[in-house]
Each structure stands twice: as structure tokens, then as C-alpha cells.
């Protein structure tokens, strides 16, 4: 597969500046689909529990490529393009299901659970007429196959033979922080999709942006769930692409002072909840980490906000739009009290989340604000110019890490 040349020249060397055309340019967007999503990366596609038994499948996307993830008769996971080898129709039309084989509705070509073409309707024609030429070999035709890898119940897929093994791709630190949360079988509690009016990268940057969390999301700060002055830090993988930020549960009376000093909107003491059961969090992981946000390049987020657990899948939908697929989960062995706690804390996240609703609109504010500024540069300078792990969240190190990985993949 040939990868198209990068459509533009990157204007600066430093990771601390980003041109706005990168969120707008259609040719750049198409190059991203080929070079990143269909390139040497691991794309999150589903949970292992979504495809628990032989024949269970889910449909999703790798970039804009429709794909099917299915559990084979052998128990192995298979992934292939959801595109019929005949004329290109979707093979599976549902979000999920259970199948013995897949049959395209258009002309009934059939595929086994590994995506091999096994049946062509009227292959030998009818009454000696028509049919496929004798030279047609089914084994030579089929949708493109993807490699799959799973870790702690998460399933990833890659189109490239060059993608390193998943654990090496993540690096030890990030892998450990995935395992910290996903340490036992999960139980899905709900799935929602949020359509965002912005380029996919604005959302990924937002998730990695530890600087904004307590400034934009004033619910947190108002109820003292987190402040930048609380303990914590950010781990950035060596290649820059993945990150995990943590906030430690440590409260002291001085924490509001730094906000008052700066005259920040995020400081509003004395605002209490009428029903504080929402914030009744228990330290279920036993390590005092109250919040952990983790990303895997390019499309995955794992979130622990108190006892509210979710995975988020970033789905690009053109240069100026994306979808964010939320899956809220708990664990299969949750007590009724923990289950109820998770339902309540789900108010914190998702399209109506007390601490995430702003992330739904702020990317659109950038997309609209920078509409005429293709060649201007945004400033990503908090905490310097590097992309190394830092023991503070008042930094944009993990955002710069994203650009480090992005530019390497794109050839910028």
C-alpha cells in the first residue's frame, strides 16, 4: 500500500506550535486516514466482552474504514474490512450480533468468521449459462484483514504489518496504568455517542490537556474534586503518543488560595451539593488515585473519574466533525451499592457530564475561532517545549507528545 506524501510543509520545528490548517485541510485529513488510522497504529475497536462467544461480532470503524470484529470458532479474534469483495457493499449491517457466517445482502456472497470468501451465489451459473469464469479463485478475493491484539479486555486492530506488538506499542508505564483499572471482567452499563463539531485531533488534544481540566470544568473545582494544586502528574509514553494523567486524593485548606490568587472563575468556595451522594467515591483501586485519564494513540481513552469508569473511542467523520463513542462499565462482581454508585457518578461524564459537557463544545469553539487562521499557529508551551512525563498537571507535555507522534506518522 502506498502512502500519499504529506500534503503540506510543517511550518516550525518546535512541538510548542501547531498550525491551524491541521484541523481544516481536507487533503491532510485524507492523508491522516491512510498514514495514521490505516497505518502502523493500534486502533481500539471494542471490548473483549462484546465478542465473548464464537460468532459474536461487532461492527465499528478504523478511521473511516468500516470493520467487523468477530470471535472465531477457534476462540481467536478476527477483524476484517466490512466491505464485500464483490461490489463493495457493507457485509454486516448491525452494530453487533452473532453469526455462523456473513452473507452480503446484495448478491449473497458469503464469508466465514475469519473474513474469507467462501461462497459466490450462482458461481457455476444457472442451467449452464453465466457464472464466474473458471479462473476465478475465491481465496484471492476477500475484504482486507486486520491484525488484532487484546489487553486487559480491550481489543485493538491494525492494518499494518509493521505495528509493534501491543504491549511494546504502549510502553510499560501506560500498560501498567491500563492494567490498574481493567483488572477483572467488566460489565457494560451503557453506550452513548456524542457527535462533536470539530476535527478529531482537537478532542484527543483536549483529553491529553491536563492544564484545562480544572479551569474549564468548574464543577470539579467548585466541588473540590480536583484542582491543579492537588497532587498528581502526567506520564507520557516514550514515543509521545500515549499518556496517563493521575490526580491524587489529597485535600488541604490551602488549595483554594492558588486559584484566588489568579482570580480564576474556577474558585467558587461555598457551593455545596443538595445531594452529595453523587460524590460518594470509594478508593476501589486502593492507591489513592482519584482520577486517571489515559489515551492510546490515535483513538482511545480510558477514564476513571472516582468510581465512574468508561472507555471512549474517537471516530473521525471528515475534517470538521467526529463522533465519540462512550461505553460506561463496571465490574461483573460489583456489589449493588457499587453498581448504584457508578450509575450516579455517570452524571459526571458523557454528553451531559458535569465535568465533560464542556469538552463537547470547546473543540467546536476552536474549529470556529480559527476558521480564518489556517496559517496561524496555536501555542502549546505550558511546562516548556518537551514531551516528557511531568509531576504536575500545569503542563501541556502530553499534548506536545501527541504532536511528536503525529508528526512522525505523517512525515512532518
Amino acid at each position: 500500500m502506498t502512502t500519499p506524501a504529506a500534503p503540506r510543509a510543517w511550518p516550525v520545528e518546535t512541538l510548542a506550535r501547531v498550525p491551524y490548517w491541521v484541523y481544516q485541510d481536507e487533503a491532510n485529513y485524507r492523508a491522516e486516514l491512510r498514514r495514521i488510522f490505516e497505518g502502523p497504529v493500534w486502533n481500539y475497536v471494542c471490548l473483549e466482552s462484546d465478542v465473548a462467544r464464537a460468532g459474536d461480532y461487532r461492527t465499528t470503524f478504523v478511521g473511516e474504514m468500516p470493520v467487523i470484529i468477530v470471535r472465531g470458532e477457534d476462540g481467536a479474534l478476527h477483524a476484517f474490512e466490512n466491505r464485500c469483495a464483490h461490489r463493495g457493499a457493507l457485509i454486516a449491517l448491525d452494530d453487533a450480533g452473532t453469526a455462523k457466517r456473513f452473507q452480503c445482502v446484495y448478491h449473497a456472497w458469503t464469508y466465514d468468521l475469519e473474513g474469507n470468501l467462501v461462497g459466490v451465489a450462482f458461481e457455476k451459473g444457472s442451467h449452464g449459462q453465466g457464472g464466474m469464469p473458471a479462473s476465478f479463485c475465491k481465496a484471492e478475493h476477500g475484504p482486507r484483514k486486520l491484525r488484532t491484539a487484546s489487553l486487559c479486555g480491550l481489543v485493538f486492530a491494525s492494518l499494518s504489518p509493521d505495528t509493534p506488538p501491543l504491549e511494546a506499542y504502549l510502553g510499560e508505564e501506560v500498560r501498567r496504568r491500563v492494567a490498574r483499572v481493567l483488572r477483572k471482567p467488566v460489565r457494560v452499563l451503557g453506550r452513548f455517542v456524542q457527535r462533536l463539531p470539530n476535527n478529531w485531533k482537537l478532542y484527543v488534544e483536549n483529553v491529553k490537556d491536563t492544564y484545562h481540566a480544572s479551569l474549564l470544568h468548574t464543577f470539579f473545582t467548585t466541588f473540590r474534586v480536583t484542582r491543579l494544586t492537588q497532587g498528581g502528574g502526567v506520564v507520557v509514553s516514550p514515543d509521545g503518543g500515549h499518556h496517563a494523567s493521575a490526580t491524587l486524593d489529597r485535600r488541604d485548606d490551602s488549595e483554594g488560595a492558588a486559584y484566588r490568587e489568579q482570580g480564576l472563575r474556577a474558585d467558587q468556595d461555598g457551593f455545596g451539593l443538595a445531594d452529595p451522594s453523587l460524590l460518594d467515591t470509594v478508593d476501589e483501586f486502593g492507591d489513592g488515585i482519584k482520577l486517571q485519564i489515559l489515551t492510546v494513540f490515535p483513538n482511545f481513552v480510558l477514564q476513571q473519574i472516582g468510581n465512574c469508569l468508561a472507555v471512549r473511542q474517537v471516530l473521525p467523520k471528515g475534517a470538521g466533525a467526529m463522533e465519540l463513542a462512550w461505553t460506561y462499565f463496571g465490574f461483573a462482581d460489583d456489589t449493588p451499592a457499587m453498581h448504584r454508585r457508578r450509575l450516579k457518578q455517570a452524571n459526571l461524564v458523557g454528553p451531559a457530564g458535569y465535568v465533560s459537557m464542556e469538552d463537547g463544545c470547546v473543540g467546536g469553539f476552536v474549529q470556529r475561532g480559527a476558521a480564518a487562521a489556517a496559517d496561524e499557529l496555536s501555542v502549546v508551551n505550558m511546562g516548556g517545549e518537551g514531551a516528557e512525563s511531568q509531576e504536575t498537571r500545569a503542563t501541556e507535555a502530553s499534548v506536545r507528545g501527541f504532536w511528536k507522534a503525529y508528526r512522525r506518522h505523517m512525515g512532518y
Binding site: 455517542v193 451539593l273 453523587l278 450516579k344 463544545c361
Partner: protein
Amino acid sequence: MAARDLPAADLLPLVSALNADYARAIDDDRLEAWPGFFAEPCVYKITSADNHRRGFEAGVVYADSQGMLSDRVAALRRANVYERQAYRHLVGLPAILGEVDGAVRAETPFLVVRIMRDGTMDLFATGRYLDLLVDHGGALRFRERIVVCDSSRFDTLLAIPL
């Protein structure tokens, strides 16, 4: 006479009037009045048909007390950031579906148009209210209102309740 003892034909105008008042309170930006449409304790949840059908219990909004409802309003007024917007609810005729645990069961279809500050009007949500209604302080109130949106996809964000 308790609401549950009334024949369906007599309940229909009562439930319709409650729905009309509820929609006006939201659309007129009188959100502080919104928790008062519920009994205490209560359940209010916004979910989707797909989650509802599959038995996935988490909602995009979930409250089990009037306190949680008023916290939602307080957060919208004081903490959350979103672009100025308003809803126009069109609420259909309720179907009165009998009695459950001393409450009247009703189901009502709705459609909500969202009007943004720049004038953009979008069909934001359609769905049905699955309600359990009780007498509460002499008036009909929601003991439970499950908002089942037809689609699981929400545009940008959901701030104002449905």
C-alpha cells in the same frame, strides 16, 4: 380520591396538563421549577431506546432525589459552560397504561427542537417519556420519569434537561 383510582379518561387531561406545565418550565428557562414536578424520592433518567432495550442501566443523566435534580440546575447555572441555547418541546398525547405499585403508568412521545444563539434550529431529540405518576401534596407528580430517546447519538452536548 387518589389519581390511581380515576378512570383513564379522567386522567388524560391531568397528565396532559402536567406534561404541558413541565415543558413550559423548561422551554421558558424556569429550570428552578423543574425539580418540583417530581415526588420525593423520585427517579429521572435520560437514556436511549437501544440502552433501554438491552437493559443497560446507565443514563446520560441519572437522578434519584429532588436534591440531585436541583444540583443539576445549580450546576447548569453556576458551573457548567455551554453556548446559549433553548429548547422547544412538542409533547404528544399521553397513553394511560394502568397502575403499577400505586402509581399511574403513562407513556408520552416528545420532540425537542434546539435553538442556538446564532439562530440554528435542530431536531435535537425525539423519544418517549415512560412515567410513573403519583399524588404528591395534592398534585400529580412524577415518581419516575425515564426519558427514552429514540437515538443514542447526541449532538455536541446535552445541558438543559429533556
